[in-house]
Amino acid sequence: MTNIEIKTWDIFCRVIDNYGDIGVCWRLARQLVNEYPFKVRLWVDELQALKQIWPSTQICDQQILDKVDVRIWVGAGADDFANDIIPADAVIEAFACNLPDIYLTAMKHKVSQPRWFNLEYLSAEDWVESCHGLTSVHPQLGLKKTFFFPGITAKTGGLIKEGELLDEIKRFQQDKPTKQLFLEQLKTQLPSDALLISLFGYENSAVASLLEAWAQSPTPIMCLVPPGKILPDVSRALGQELTVGDSFAKGSLKLQIIPFLNQTDYDCLLWACDINFVRGEDSFVRAQWAAKPFVWHIYPQDEDFHMVKLDAFLHRYAQTLDIDTQGAITRLWHQWNQGKDCTDAWNACLANLQNWQKHNQNWRQHLNSLGDLASNMVHFCQKTL
């Protein structure tokens, strides 16, 4: 097979739950179309999630959003997908979703077979390195597909990072008026000496202990909570039903429910805060680029298998930390992900906050050295199959 010049991309995204699937695919699509001379079609099976993170989205079969051709993809059956679609030069099935049969058949009959990628989930486990970049052959159609893994090591595909992202973060974080204006738009009054924390997670009974620890904290804490799965547990812990616009105060803690933020503004939130609680894959990656201390609520899996993945990441992330800080972060992440009391672990992290802050600056440097996911994928396309 010889090289074909890649000019067009099709990205297929099936929204299973939450905003991670569409969040990642939307960023990738925008980066490919804005930083490269490509045309990109993003096929999604439902638009409500995209509308939440990109409010200008319309609920219609086809639209152009930020130069991306966004199309609805109803299902995998032959009757559900248009039979006149010509597959792009490069095709991404995101998170192992299955492409429509009719599209696969069209790929088979295309004169130059598209470069086909399965974009897998982010994991720091060792096995990912041994599978990244390997090609498999479709059992029935003979089409070749490459497994492409996002990752945090040199033997994986890197993380999504727009070309201007680090400059943008630097400009935002160094420009106090811009940061102030952003917080004011959230109707947040930030006490000058308070630690600013964003709280985004799945359902978690541990939040009660965390909020109490913050209320008892020697340092004032301002916590911003966007609507999400953790809000009911927050309400329960504080003994009142909270919605957007509500605020709460107890001891050292001030807590505010902020509006759901679009993708751009959520990035700004991560950049503005001192510590970020994040979840899943998209916000987890963005928190790492923000280079602030973060606590990851990993997507729960059967038989607690997510703890294996959590530890795989912690092993790589925390290995250059001093023993005390490493121990504190590990304990907090474990307690947080197991729904257990976080009081002692939180206080230990607070005691080692300076080391934790410096470490995240170094961690971002390491991630930056890997190349970003989009450019790694584009370079991979230049290799002959």
Binding site: I16, E120, L122, L134, P139
Partner: protein, 188 residues
Amino acid sequence: MKTGQELRAGHVISIDGQPWLIQKAEISRSGRNTAVVKTKLKNLLNGYLTETPYKADDKFEDIVLDRKDVTYSYYADPRYVFVDSDYEQYELDKEELGDMAPYIEDGIDDICEAVFFEGKVISITPPNSVTREVVYTEPSVRGDTSGKVMKPARLTNGTEIQVSAFVEIGDKIIIDTRTHEYKSRAKD
């Protein structure tokens, strides 16, 4: 049909119309309770080896290969002719002999297993052990009868094998064909 999750070493599956033997299948859990299966595969037609990942829900057609007992008949340059109990003949190139290649010589009567794909023999598997004559080896050193010291020996067809130090030219030896190792001298 098998899914990726069900693949195991020893299964033979069809990929793009070709039969592939799964030599190894390692399942790793990915995100959201999905899984990736990393396989080591051998193409049964051309012997090509590859490492390939699949998704746990990828579907594969099972291949059940026909197998038949055959014995070696003669060499018709460049092909080796085997025959079954119905005297039907099957011709193979040297490359197709596979694990049988080191033990092929005139006059043998070992019962081998021929594996067929779409009516064509794709491999010959020898029995677990065969008996062959040593045509050359260095003389044994007097007193060296422990059996633990090994030396090279050559069989009738030129195949080299390590044998116990007390083995002499003309001895018949039993060989484990699965490991290509000398087991013992054959009793007369």
